[in-house]
């Protein structure tokens, strides 16, 4: 009998921006806030990373329970050093992850992420899925959030999920529910 649920997330085996090899087990015990993108992205990534960082600020101390991860879909250019330089000043909470093309493609498949390089004249683009995924401290999928969510909405949704995980019920929040 085959399973009927679409699995979201799962194993990855990548290198973080400090050069260490990491898997989901590395972050076990904390929520993972996972976003796929690339450092040369002109619009979507800066907007979503900015929104996510702001949401984590709004969470206050609860943000310590969340490990934000930025997985590149452009491993040819996004080395650990490039990721480190990109995140250091802009999004210091984030850990950047990269790997070989095969490793990145495996991570993309796990999260159903679409990413396709489009070479158009001299404009090098990588259209990609802009969801932010939330995984619980056990590594299981909780929800995903579209780029259209505001920082306030995302903060509210994250707060509710943290409370739910703690068994503390649903916290009053300004945001809509977490389902995208």
């Amino acid at each position: 009998m085959s399973s009927s649920r679409a699995r979201v997330g799962g194993h990855f085996d990548l290198t973080d921006h400090l050069g260490a090899r990491v898997t989901p087990g590395t972050y076990r015990g904390r929520f993972m806030l996972v976003f796929f993108g690339f450092t040369h992205c002109g619009q979507i990534c800066p907007a979503v990373l900015g929104r996510n960082s702001r949401a984590l600020e709004l969470l206050g101390p609860d943000a310590d329970e969340i490990q934000p991860l930025y997985i590149t879909v452009d491993p040819d250019r996004d080395s650990p050093e490039v990721l480190a330089a990109y995140l250091r000043d802009r999004h210091p909470r984030y850990t950047g992850l990269t790997g070989t093309t095969a490793e990145i493609e495996a991570a993309e498949r796990a999260y159903h992420v679409f990413a396709r390089r489009a070479d158009e004249l001299d404009d090098y683009r990588v259209p990609h899925t802009s969801f932010t995924f939330l995984m619980d401290p056990g590594g299981d999928y909780v929800s995903h959030y579209a780029e259209t969510r505001t920082a306030d909405e995302l903060a509210g949704a994250l707060a509710r999920e943290i409370d739910r995980y703690r068994g503390g019920g649903v916290r009053t929040a300004t945001a809509a529910d977490g389902r995208s």
Partner: protein, 526 residues
Amino acid sequence: MISVTGDPAAGIDLDRVPALDDLQLGHLRHIENLVHQVPGDWSKMGGVDPGQELFDAYRYQLAYFAYTLGLAHYHWLPAAPSAVKPAFEKAVEKMLRRDVWGYWKETSRGARVLDPDIEELREPWTDPVVRENIMYSGHLYAMTALHAVLFDDDRYDRPGALTFEWNPVFQGLAPESHVYRRSSLGEAIYWQMVENGWLGVACEPNCIFIVCNQFPMLGFRFEDVRDGTARAEEATSAYAAAWERRGLYAGNGSYHPFLMVRQNQLVPPRGITNDAWVASVMNTWNRDLVRELFPRQVRGTLKTGPDGTISPYAPSVVPKVRAALDAGEPADLPQDTTEAVVDPTFGFVAAALSELGDERLRGLLAHADRFLNPTWDNGGLYYPRNDRSWDSEGNRIQVDAMTGNALLGYSRLNVPDGLWSLYQRPWTAEHFAEPHVSTQDGDFDLRRAYYHHDSRTLLLTARPRDGQRGDISLTIANAPSRPWTLRFDGVVVADSDNPDRVAVAGRTLCITTALDAETTLTLHWS
């Protein structure tokens, strides 16, 4: 007898109450006849291809049976789920048969025609919805979600409600069961759309058809209605954005039929067949675009015949007609009767005209009734399959099973923006709380079933089937807690104090009577 009045509808103008005509009733009866055939009996539904790979496949017919029943319920018989629900559920039941989806194991291997770069076929799989095959899964999702919003019933979201059993008699290996429910089916489709950058899910491997990805949009919408979610809004906006980047239609305004994924290549437009099919469904969520494009797409594709009949030109003639129109010349050109007609073009054009409220639908149906051999069988109306394309006078006479069984009936039961209404204005709890016929028994058809809210009157017009007198019973659910009066053609036959022929159990009334002629029953609560 308690009293007599001469008003058959107790003060309501019957002409203003929706009522099915004989032809519409005939189409519904034909659908009912087909879905109630014993398992494995596909009489009258067989197509030209033995492998269920073409547009007349069982899955498409069954899906359009369900959509037709849905339109009939929503627009014509809103107070009688009893009249359509059993047949609707039979259609879903048949969709789960291996006869319908078993083709996928072979199709899943891939194909050189649709993927020219393929070097060897893939390992096949039997699960018909886990990956690709949106031409099946999209319809099943739309059907089951439509069932939920029409009947206020989530039975297809129960665990295991949609289970696919693969157990060939002689295989001797462990049988395979692929277990789904409506929501998990929707999840499988949703994440595939995400993976594909919202361009959609493949039908045949490597091919993302635009039309087939319209049906899961209906599923998302209807499931949103049940769950209070907003996935359809996300899906349709992301889909529209993805195709805006990729190019939904060509410069002439015709939709590309599909994208060959590996080659990243759009297949050139094929003309009115594909355009009409897309328009008839995409009108639900993208009406402005459809209304802008369809007049260009349909221009020069329809030929006027005798007595106002209309039929599609053979594709080879269309460019000449358009050239004549461009030049301001008479554009009534002869058909090209050397060209064989194979696709359900006639039916898809009819479906599009019905949805867009185009008056030319009348001409198309007139052509069908004159040249396509309308046939009555067991009370049902259909147009039998005919593989000949043209008669000796050049009239189009080809009929495929999809057009003859499903699409012409669908078109006749649709109303302008009919599917759009289902999508945009689904019934609310208020509707489901109104009196309605929940079950019915006996050989009769309901021509009318409408609850007049302001006067608290349920109007039902019943007609014996095949002219045969018989006993009927109607169970009326959600009866208000008020005194009531029952009239047959304006004659009071019972009321709450003298409930002759009516069994009362709480808020349920069961009317039992003999029916020997068409009769309008009015049940009025004071």
